[in-house]
């Protein structure tokens, strides 16, 4: 693992820098730390930071840029003719990468000399066989252009890594020497170090922005790619979802409406379960319950929120589904065909959402000023009348915010619907029928073997975009309401 070694060497340089920088600064003040501008450790840290930070920045940048550069060069090398019908440049590139890895493996196992791996020529069958012997997965015969591209890819990556190692080490040593030169008694080491630390803190805080940008970019680019292959109008207005698995577009119907309908229907069922239970639980906990009951029941309800969703999914699939089938299925009311249905997923999701509604509503009801309750009691209202006519209206905006947050949770929930709602996309009003959701289809479209260039796989990004936009709007709206409400009583 040369990369690991490189990192360790840079770290070693930094540690040496710390020790030497500290010593040099102390020596320049005649061994008396009172003669220094800063504490001795700051001089050491200064050298260490100067050795590490630029070197690591270069390393990260290089690791990001090299694959793109090499990829572009290599794909320029592949002639049009070797991209077969029914294939794409991406697939050929994957083949090239595999062949290159195979060459690496063969060299590592001593089946080929390095020289051979670089210069092997037209004896194709031999190469394919030898790569297979080396344990690499070569899907088809390695053709001359692919082999040449793979050899070039290996060479470029090898030289790239060599140059990178040298450049990073040189930068680390330069930073080390520069930092060491600075380590004199009058150097304001603390200020410099604190500035760097502050920059690191800002960098860490910006990761949140980078993540959002990453999400948006990865969704937008792939969605645009999808709309190039599949008309946007058909996606947003289509009422049929029937992706073909083997074909390459054309025959697939990828309308989002049945999925959106399934998503909303299941969310509505879930909220119909969670909102009354959660709201009454919150009212009881905040207004009636004795401190002891509250101390027991509140954390117990919150356990429901801490249970992983896969557990709920399994619960829906194996417990609730069969139970509902017994009541509403063939032998009972005959409304239900199979255990996976809107009702199954909705009920279980409702259980999961109870603590979301109850905890948030509880906080909001608690923040209604006591004076309002006292005023109502003073007029002779009972406790429940006070709650219904004073507390709830005052808390209403906050409660709506809480419900919206729960709704956004329900729309984005994946595992419960993947396991409990079934796989058939349909537009139907019967809650005992199997339906599917946006999230479930993202999982099924991206976990298959479809390649990334086909509309059947790319549609997942368009679905993700739809999901992201819907939940984002709900969240922003809900947070706005909750915040506005909080300010009102603060």
């Amino acid at each position: 693992m040369p990369l690991l070694w490189l990192i360790l060497i840079v770290l070693a340089i930094a540690v040496a820098g710390y020790v030497l920088g500290r010593q040099r600064a102390l020596a320049s003040a005649g061994g008396d730390s009172r003669g220094l501008h800063s504490l001795p450790s700051y001089y050491g840290s200064n050298v260490a930071i100067k050795a590490i930070v630029p070197a690591f920045l270069l390393l990260v940048a290089w690791l990001l840029i090299q694959p793109i550069y090499v990829g572009n060069t290599i794909s320029g090398m592949i002639p049009e003719s070797s991209v077969k019908e029914g294939s794409s440049l991406g697939l050929v590139m994957a083949e090239v990468r595999r062949a290159a890895n195979g060459l690496d493996a063969a060299v590592a196992q001593g089946l080929m000399t390095d020289d051979e791996a670089r210069n092997l020529r037209a004896d194709f069958t031999d190469v394919t066989q030898r790569l297979r012997d080396a344990g690499s997965i070569v899907t088809s015969e390695v053709t001359q252009p692919i082999l040449r591209a793979a050899q070039r890819y290996r060479i470029m990556n090898d030289t790239g890594n060599l140059i990178m190692t040298i450049a990073v080490l040189i930068l680390a040593v330069l930073g080390f020497l520069y930092g060491l030169r600075e380590s004199r008694a009058e150097f304001r080491a603390r200020n410099v170090v604190e500035h760097s630390v502050r920059a690191i803190l800002v960098g860490a805080a910006s990761i949140a922005i980078l993540t959002t940008i990453g999400i948006v970019l990865s969704l937008v680019f792939n969605t645009i790619e999808f709309f190039r292959l599949y008309p946007a109008a058909d996606f947003f207005l289509g009422t049929n979802w029937a992706p073909s698995f083997s074909g390459r577009g054309g025959s697939s119907d990828l309308g989002v409406l049945p999925l959106l309908w399934g998503t909303f229907y299941i969310s509505i069922v879930a909220l119909a379960v969670a909102v009354p239970i959660g709201l009454f639980a919150a009212i009881y906990l905040s207004e009636y319950a004795s401190p002891r009951i509250r101390a027991f029941a509140k954390p117990m309800l919150e356990v429901l929120a801490g249970i992983p969703t896969i557990v709920y999914g399994l619960f829906a699939l194996l417990t609730v589904g069969p139970l509902l089938l017994k009541v509403f299925g063939d032998n009972g009311l005959d409304w239900m065909q199979s255990g996976t249905a809107v009702m199954t997923a909705g009920l279980v999701m409702g259980i999961m959402l109870i603590p979301f509604v109850s905890s948030l509503s509880d906080d909001i009801i608690n923040s209604v000023p006591q004076a309002m309750r006292d005023g109502s009691y003073g007029l002779g209202a009972t406790k429940s009348e006070t709650i219904k006519q004073v507390v709830l209206p005052a808390a209403l905006p906050g409660i709506v915010g809480a419900i919206l947050l729960a709704a956004s949770r329900a729309i984005g929930e994946t595992m419960i619907v993947v396991l409990g709602a079934g796989a058939a996309a349909r537009l139907s009003l019967n809650p005992f029928e199997a339906m599917t959701t946006v999230t479930a289809k993202i999982v099924s479209q991206l976990t298959g073997d479809a390649d990334f260039a086909s509309p059947e796989a790319l549609v997942a990004f368009a679905l993700g975009m739809t999901l992201f936009v819907i939940t984002l709007c709900l969240n922003i709206f809900a947070l706005y309401i909750v915040r506005k409400y909080r300010e009102q009583y603060e």
Binding site: L279, V303, T319, T447, F461
Partner: protein, 442 residues
Amino acid sequence: MTDATLNGSGPGKSSSLTARDARTKRRNASEKRFQAYGMIAIGIGLFFLVVLAFTIIRSGIPAFTKTVVDVEFTITQAEYEAAESELFKTKAYQDLFISKLEAQLQERGLEVDFDADAIERLLGKTGGTIREYYQGNSNMLGEPVRFELAASSRVDGYFNGRVTREGMQDSRFLMKTDLDIVDALHEAGIMKSAFNWNFITGADSGVDNPGGAGIGASVVGSFFMMLVVLLLSLPIGVAASIYLEEFAPQNRFTDLIEVNISNLAAVPSIVFGILGLAVFIQFMHLPQSAPLVGGLVLTLMTLPTIIISTRASLKAVPPSIRDAALGVGASKMQAVFHHVLPLAMPGILTGTIIGLAQALGETAPLLLIGMVGFVARGYPDGIVAGFTDPNSAMPAQIYTWAARADVAFYEKAWGGIIVLLVFLLTMNILAIILRRRFERRW
């Protein structure tokens, strides 16, 4: 004033305050009803919790046991040589085993008919196991040796009630007549339940072998993933929180970060999976199905949670601490790193553990980056391989089992959930202890 007294003496309400009229009764009843609704709601919530716990334990416990045939018999040198000289050697051993088993049953006075096929349905290919043993330990020839042979998953099912005599149909996996043999063997004390260590230490098995499936490899996968999450999200989260809480000026940039963090906390987890797929795998070509990538995705997902809780614990440190540090000549940076941060550490660690627990149970993003169950075929061979070799994680492994057609895997899925919940419970208890032990009220 006089008017008022005049009107007051007119025909008004003359009943006493202590007597309850119809309206008061109605209002009191509605009060009681309202309170009852609240209690019912909490009751329903707790009821679901109990049902969930009960279901998990009842359905999951069988995964930890397996049915074994525990027999002790002796194979002599002569029998060994005779079997080795046969053309079909494992078949010869199987016949040998059956004759030994028959002898044992007769010794206990039990009469059951069985043939080689029935034994194969119940125990799989026993001949191979026995032959392998004696080839490795030829010194044991002529000595009594005790064998524990695992029964097929359907026999397991019969033992713990999943398969019943009435409900089953004869198939090449299990016949009704086989159950007579099972009953007889059970009665003789030869067939019994044993703890299934393989479930805890083993790796995922093929689709046709539910008995051999274990969760061990994916526990290791989850462990490496959590290591990545801890090593990245704790420093980054703490650094970001310190900046936002202690240093950030009130400006557009700070607002932008704040809005981003609160929105990211509510983005569906599957969107993070899409991000991981597009950025880490499509764009950066990091290895697919690797715990490293899973850890990166989960880091981005848990960062908002950790930042929010860290900021709360930084805010809880009173300003007088900072003022005192600044007053004796510390720089702002020194005040924060030497005084505020150590005091906030228990709260930060509690929040981090809860964030990690949340990440540990997350499934959907892992499925998108290829960490599905069936890639967990074995343990990684080293520390680096642990991060980069394809592996699964506990929840993804459970999902894979739940999605398989064979019902016997469902039991494994529930068992996997027990293992997962044990980890989550441990982490949460650790967080509670940390909070109780170190929390400081100012």
